[in-house]
Amino acid sequence: MRKIIFILISLLFIVNKVYASQEEDDQKMLEELGIGQEAQAAYKFPDIKPEAELMLGYRFVGVSGSKKAFEYEYLKDYPVFDGHLDFFKYPHRLRLDLDFNNNKDYQSDVNYAYGDLLLTRWFDTTFYHNLDNIELIDLDPSSLNYEVDIKDSDVRYGVITDIHNAMLRLKTPNFPAHLYLKILYVMKDGKFQQRSLSGSGYFDNIQRTTQERDIDWTTAIYEIGANSHLGHAEVELAHIDKRFDVGMDEALFDNYTANAFRSAGTFPHNQVSELKGSSNLINIHSNYNESLVASATFSIKERENEASGAKADIYQGAGSLQWTPLTRLSFFMNYSHIDVDADNPATASITDINGSVTTYPGSVIPSISKTTDTFSLTGRYNPETGVTLRAKYRYENIDRDKAADWGLQDTTRKNTFSLSAGLRVIKGFDLKTEYIHKAIVQPSYNNEPDYSDKGIASISWIPAAGINLLLNYSIAKEERDDLYFSETRNAKDRNTKTENLMGSGTFQLRNNLSLTTSYAFIRYKIRQDIVYGDVASTDNDVPYNEMAHVYSASLNYIPIDKLNIFALISQTKSTVEFIPGSQDLLNPVSIASFSKQKVTETTYRLSADYECMNSFSCSLEFQDNNVNDVLDNIHDDNQDGHAYIIMLSLKKKWL
């Protein structure tokens, strides 16, 4: 397939070269006739002086308790700088943005173009993720089984994520044919908590363990492709290579005691496997400016696990069609076909640190191969100006191979109908509503419903100049009446209810003073029958509830032209509870206590920017975050934390 793609890319450029030559001949003819010269003479690249901006400053931080108060900030005092440069001198166009907070947190975005022949963009995002060290609770240290082994007490975890995204695009002179290269590099480097099961690794000796793990992972995606237009159609061809490398950390090794299946030894666990893959892609679409617009995508992908040799071949074909018979009426059709052919090894074995192999009898459950076909048709009608009606039908069919080995359905069919209406009641007052009904025949997993209904309503209102209000509410209900568990089949019912309410208002109180407030309410409720290995009866209608309130208010004030003040306060309150009914589960300690939580996060932010003189400005930014585990439940994984960041900076602009 790679050869075919290469031949087609070559063909694309040869064909374009021929037509570009013809166009040059045509242009010569036009020039001889004196046509077009006026416009050519008229174009002159404007004289633009470079613009630049540089900010230097220092960031002071303070932290106590969990660093989750600033989950994505590297909490260390550090000098900071930002830079911005715009340089336009034909044929060069350069834009540069750089934000440097510290050596583990910086972003850059560089664009460079040479005339219309070359375009490059490279952006880098590097940030630090503070990770939890979750404490494993030993409820009864005197008991021998169900022990806890904590090897990483007081270790603070964090991982640097470094995302490089680069693009180079070359254009043929005087013709819109392009050759491009894209590279995505995602590197993760740091330490995280690895929780695992040691002891014998089986029920006869359960020992929960937590330890430190160093990672140095890289995901790399390289894409090379070409595109051009061919009359009424545009074509793009691409080849993509993908690699996932684990560096030196493929697996952890620990000592395990003997069990019924293997002798004692030092075995690998929590292996992270290296993966490789490739894709070949063809995109074709017709000209957008016709009453019938079509696009098609074909791709063939291969994925391989280098540790076990597991493979997956994926074929995808997708097409879309838009038909606009009348200005007020359009139809949109989408179809996609995805064929996943998965192949995993037939048997399982494990090799200990000395190279001794334990092969287990019996075969590995074969991976599921499946075919998914999705079709959707949408109609849009505008009976009046300001009124839009839409109706959509979506059908999805999933055919699984070897599904019975997993206790899944061979075929699952999903039908979704939706109706929506948009109405501009008066100028500045817009109303939108939508109703979605979904029916699934033979759902495969218990969290898929037989039926679901969802309603959405939103209002956008500008009652007066300087006031902007938005209100959005959605409610969704799901029902299922034939739950399936692998060992117990008497569980039946599951229903869920999801509610979202979102309101926001922006008020321009004075010319130099504006206030923005918002409130969001998110609620997710499940009632479901669940089953346990040793309880004969089903635990019926077990409730699980999640709720969150998000409040925010911000003020922007410009008391004098040179001074800009911004203040914000926001708070998120969240609760989770799971209440099993069986008394066995409530005594002597309720299993609900392991998941019950109530957390409040509060943020205060204040910034002031003052333009001093000669394009200099100085600024102060302060942010304080507080995470409060309100319940202080020793069985949950939440921890209190408080942190602040103060940044002082000086900025200079060159215009």
């Binding site: 397939m1 087609l8 063909l11 064909v15 013809q22 416009a39 008229a42 690249f45 715009d86 166009r93 934000d99 972003q107 173009a113 979750i134 409820l139 009864d140 008991s143 089984n145 169900y146 819109p176 392009h178 995505l184 995602v186 929780r195 014998s200 089986y202 359960i206 929960r208 995901t219 595109n227 061919l230 009359g231 545009e234 074509v235 299946f261 666990h269 929590n270 074709i284 957008y288 995508t297 994925r303 200005t327 059709m333 996609s336 998965a342 399982a348 287990y360 590995v364 499946k370 979202n500 969001a520 669940i530 089953v531 309880v535 999640e546 989770v576 589960l585 300690v589 299993i591 069985h635």
Partner: protein, 333 residues
């Protein structure tokens, strides 16, 4: 991949290439239907006068003109590139009526009085009042041929279907560069998607509000063949751009759940750790029966092992290549 499929693909591309070459020089229809042509052509009784005539005595738009001419479009639209020229009237319509009463003397007199000579702006196309489809067509009449190919699925994408036009996100006169700055993308998207803004404020979230990641890291706002405007063909492919360690395939799979990350995760934000839709152990108990609850003399200790976080022990839940201690794929290893 069977041979028949390869042959089919090759023939299809060949036919498209031959057809494309045959029609490459033919005249294209500008707009899909007549009414849009009327909307986008402007006043039929007006004539095109060229940018120089439009702006020679009006310096109010000098910066706009400068920025535009220095932009990708301005730089690419020189005569020698053979691409269609774009100037003020390409979008705003012919300008002769707007300046018909303006004379050099009047401009001079106004300038002496310190005021700008006004055009008859009402004779231009009222771009803001056009239906969204017409607004987009104004751009698509040129951008149907698009170097980045990111409009491949625009027409049937959810934004286009829901009356979002190019104007909602792109301000063509914002400056020289027409690429939306990465640091500005989030605010642009969240102006409309405010529910997602609230989700990003939940205790577990991707760092979008912190401006470390942005919406376009996962979504292609210009349209895709899949729902949700995902940047890749599937949810799994989108997530594993960064989370490559969870992609597989593995020797021991979690059935085909691993193909659908959103079965267990809420990518924008969640009240639970690790963006889980539901907290553990209830998350797993939805599909799997629980471990023993009473067999260990009702000690709270067995509950501590079996009903805290399932992934404390089943730590390779996305798939694994080595068997558990019993030789099965329990994701404990």
């Amino acid at each position: 991949m069977n041979t028949l499929r390869k042959i089919f693909l090759f023939l299809f591309i060949l036919i498209m290439a031959v057809y494309g070459c045959e029609t490459i020089k033919s005249v294209k229809q500008i707009m899909p239907i007549k009414e849009y042509e009327q909307l986008l052509l402007g006043r039929l009784d007006a004539n095109y006068i060229g940018t120089n005539n439009c702006l020679s005595s009006c310096h109010y738009h000098d910066k706009i003109r400068r920025d535009f001419e220095a932009s990708t479009m301005g730089a690419q639209m020189s005569e020698k590139t053979h691409l269609p020229l774009v100037n003020c009237e390409s979008c705003h319509g012919p300008g002769s009526l707007a300046i018909e009463e303006i004379t050099p003397e009047k401009v001079e007199k106004d300038a002496a009085a310190g005021k700008q000579t006004a055009c008859k702006n009402e004779t231009f196309i009222n771009l803001k009042a056009l239906p969204p489809q017409a607004q987009s067509l104004m751009c698509l009449k040129c951008h149907a041929e698009n170097a980045s190919f990111n409009l491949h699925n625009w027409n049937t994408g959810i934004h286009a279907v829901n009356d979002v036009s190019c104007y909602n996100c792109h301000n063509i006169h914002a400056g020289v560069s027409l690429i939306t700055k990465r640091k500005d993308v989030r605010d642009m998207c969240l102006k409309c998607h405010q529910t997602q803004a609230a989700e990003f404020s939940l205790p577990s979230h991707h760092p979008v509000m912190e401006k470390k990641l942005t919406c376009t890291d996962c979504h292609n706002p210009h349209g895709t063949s899949k729902e949700g405007l995902l940047i890749e063909d599937t949810v799994k492919e989108t997530c594993t751009r960064c989370h490559g360690e969870k992609e597989g395939p593995y020797a021991f799979e979690h059935a085909d759940v691993n193909d659908e990350c959103m079965a267990c995760h809420s990518p924008h934000g969640s009240v639970n750790n690790n963006l889980l839709k539901v907290s553990e152990p209830f998350l797993c108990l939805q599909c799997h029966h629980g471990h023993t609850t009473t067999s260990d003399a009702v000690t709270k200790k067995s509950k501590g092992a079996y009903y805290t976080r399932c992934t404390d022990c089943h730590s390779q839940i996305h798939g694994t290549d080595i068997p558990s201690a019993s030789g099965k794929g329990r994701f404990i290893n």
